[in-house]
Amino acid sequence: MALASSETARTRSERPRVGLLVTCLVDLFRPSVGFAAVKLLEDAGCLVEAPGVQTCCGQPAYNSGARSDAIDLACQTIAAFEGFDYVVTPSGSCGGMLRKHYPELLKAEPEWSGRAASLAAKTYELVSFLVDVMGVTKVDVSWPAKAAYHDACSGLRELGVREQPRKLLNTISGLEIVEVADRDACCGFGGTFSVKYPEISNAIVADKTKRVAETGCNLLIAGDLGCLLNLAGKIGREGRQIEVRHVAEVLAGQSGTPPIGGRS
């Protein structure tokens, strides 16, 4: 989807340059989410680049107590992205890391604290960026399904992502959105928590998939791939007939891609 060659330099310069923070999970497990994000951003009028020097935002190190590794990765990410007008990521958790935690992590580093704060101020989770910054009000997609939307915790509580995805999903023709009981509850992923405390993590996700199934949905949507791998893995093991997908795929109308976990 390269830009049309007839486009003039002037119209290009008016479009915001967006650096896409792909996230390490999307890079490895589900690149189609990254490409869906690119499509949505370009449709909204952005110029999208994905810096090749990005790796991971450092959250695994940060949450494991390895503060100095987290600081190094934060600085690397800041250097890679600070030249853009905006940094956008298809993950509330990585977005929260840049927006909320980088300034905290680097507040005592004189060379970096200001840079961390300015990066934080222009970093957004994908769907909230589309709605709140680019003013997107609808998508031109048809997707007949009964869908539950799971609010991934970091996006919900660190970035206030709640209404934006529902707003856009509601414009999809054929898609009915249903709400899960106690919808603010965690899915039990929590990064390394899911493998350090697998029994507890399993109990939490089993409770969540039970509540999801109780809605009678056949599609489960969320905005964070970590949570989605957890939910899809549990739903797959339980043999439930529920497709699991990232919100970007659905908004971009990528119904041709198999759902997460390959089941449909």
């Binding site: 390269a2 390490c24 490895l28 497990f29 589900r30 690149p31 990254g34 490409f35 999208v48 680049e49 994905a50 810096p51 090749g52 020097v53 790796t55 991971c56 450092g58 190190a61 940060y62 949450n63 494991s64 107590g65 390895a66 503060r67 590794d69 190094d72 990765l73 690397q76 890679a80 030249g83 905290e104 915790c153 970091s154 509580r157 106690d182 509850a185 965690c186 039990g188 992923f189 929590g190 990064g191 928590f193 899911s194 493998v195 350090k196 405390y197 697998p198 029994e199 507890i200 993590s201 399993n202 109990a203 939490i204 996700v205 899809a232 893995g233 549990k234 891609t257 976990g261 390959g262």
Partner: protein, 475 residues
């Protein structure tokens, strides 16, 4: 009580297999989450009150020494005695001494988490006193010889059927054929058994939700009325509290009370909010003739000087555990000491040492709901992360997960090598993936795949490889 937090993992696994516990936890979650949310939503100024409550406590903690001295002065002026204890052992001895001097035989108790923290009951019983818990939940765990599983609902882990069985076992003097299947019958029976104790008690011990510096008043917030009977009927009233419970004024308490009951039980105000200032004055119709306030430091001064200071704002409402997915899954006993849930995972390492409690801050998905519901805006996830940093610094470098983390961090700081390794890793993952995704023998996947599939990566290579292939801008 002796902490068993080091065995958190095993205790959690047992809790997950305990069907009675799971029933009780399911009921508790449904009840608390709904009623707390609606109580908050009914009060338009709730968010502003949280800010005000936080500011009051921050101010108090910044001038704690001054307010404690004022409190001591005012309690003394009102005719009470103030006793300072640095350690749990000192507090126990002080209380024992007061009971001995009074020639006490029976000691009744209102609900007090500090008393649990310093294991007061065991100490007093060993010293020969009869100790009776009068809060229904505390009474239940006393007859079961268990620690509390929740800071405001100590027996929230029990089902009604378990309580009935305990009463039948413990109240042998009552007719065996009596009908106590209904909750109201259970409460009536407890009331009947406890009533006699209130009257015969020589000493009543309560905790305190707040200590008011300007008036020398201690405050308890309760629903059963047992606390009032505990502190009014016996000759001697002992209040046991830690130093961070002080607030400057009556006005301040009024502000914090408005967020406390709503966050604790979803009530606008609890059934009883009782203010006690000194002993019975001449002309008072009732009240104790002696009033003692035992002020315990118990490690709080150290916390005050640390990065965990904000945890001292806690007013013990329990909202963090009521909304915690880990607490919902395993309940309070798995945490292995007095304070469970997110606030417990912050306080326990501070009070018993991180070496013994290292699992507690780790066993969190960092969902952040605790911070969201905390009326005092304690940044609980941030504090759990601080503990993880302490734990990380103490961990052996040879530890397998530590080595994996170091290798990953090293690689992630070398983008070219990282992307090459990702491509190779992805190729291998796709090669070994079956219909259920990744196999369980890969490093670190076993814990995951025991209960869940690990979805196989998509076809086509990493995002960055595909992006470069399409000739897209990588800057």
């Amino acid at each position: 009580m002796k902490p068993t937090s080091a065995a958190f993992k095993e205790q959690a696994t047992r809790a997950l297999d305990d069907s009675d516990l799971q029933t009780a936890l399911g009921r508790m979650r449904t009840h608390y989450v709904g009623s707390i949310t609606s109580a908050r939503e009914r009060l338009p100024e709730f968010e502003a009150l949280r800010d005000a409550a936080r500011d009051i406590k921050n101010h108090t903690l910044a001038h704690l020494d001054l307010y404690l001295e004022e409190l001591e002065r005012k309690v003394t002026e009102a005719g009470g005695y103030v006793h300072w204890a640095t350690t749990a052992a000192e507090a126990r001895t002080l209380i024992e001494t007061i009971c001995r001097r009074a020639n006490a035989r029976t000691v009744t108790k209102g609900k007090s988490m500090i008393s649990e923290e310093i294991a007061l009951n065991a100490h007093l019983e060993k010293a020969g006193f009869k100790v009776v818990e009068t809060d229904l939940g505390e009474y239940l765990i006393q007859i079961r010889n268990e620690p509390p599983s929740h800071i405001i609902g100590p027996a929230v882990h029990l089902t009604r059927a378990q309580i009935e069985a305990d009463f039948r076992r413990h109240h042998k003097h009552l007719p065996a054929g009596r009908n106590i299947t209904e909750p109201v019958a259970l409460v009536d029976e407890a009331r009947q058994v406890l009533r006699q104790q209130f009257i015969t008690a020589d000493v009543g011990i309560t905790g305190a939700n707040f200590l008011i510096a300007e008036t020398g008043t201690t405050v308890i917030v309760t629903n059963e009325g047992n606390g009032d009977l505990t502190q009014i009927l016996p000759r001697i009233h002992i209040v046991l509290a830690t130093i961070e419970k002080v607030v400057p004024t009556l006005e301040d308490v009024s502000t914090i009370l408005r967020v406390l009951a709503r966050s604790a039980t979803g009530q606008e105000i609890s059934n009883y909010t009782t203010f006690s200032t000194g002993p019975r004055r001449s002309g008072d119709p009732d009240g104790p003739t002696e009033y003692h306030l035992v002020l315990l430091d118990g490690g709080r001064t150290e916390i005050l000087a640390s990065e965990f200071r904000e945890a001292l704002r806690c007013i013990r409402c329990g909202a963090c555990m009521d909304h915690c997915p880990v607490y919902h899954a395993v309940g309070g006993h798995a945490y292995g000491w007095v304070y469970p849930g997110p606030i417990g995972a912050v306080m326990t390492p501070a009070l018993i040492g991180i070496q013994q409690a290292r699992h507690l801050p780790s066993a969190s998905s960092f969902c952040g709901r605790c911070e969201d519901v905390c009326p005092m805006r304690i940044p609980l996830p941030k504090m759990l992360r601080y503990w993880r940093e302490h734990d990380h610094a103490l961990a052996r470098r040879s530890d397998l997960s530590q080595r994996a983390l170091r290798l990953w961090a090293w690689l992630a700081q070398r983008p070219a090598a990282y992307h090459r390794a990702s491509r190779v890793g992805l190729g291998l993952m796709r090669l070994v993936s079956g219909p259920r995704g990744l196999p369980h023998w890969l490093p670190f996947t076993k814990g995951w795949t025991r209960h869940r599939d690990f979805p196989a990566p998509e076809k086509g290579g990493t995002f960055h490889a595909q992006w470069a292939k399409r000739g897209r801008r990588t800057s």
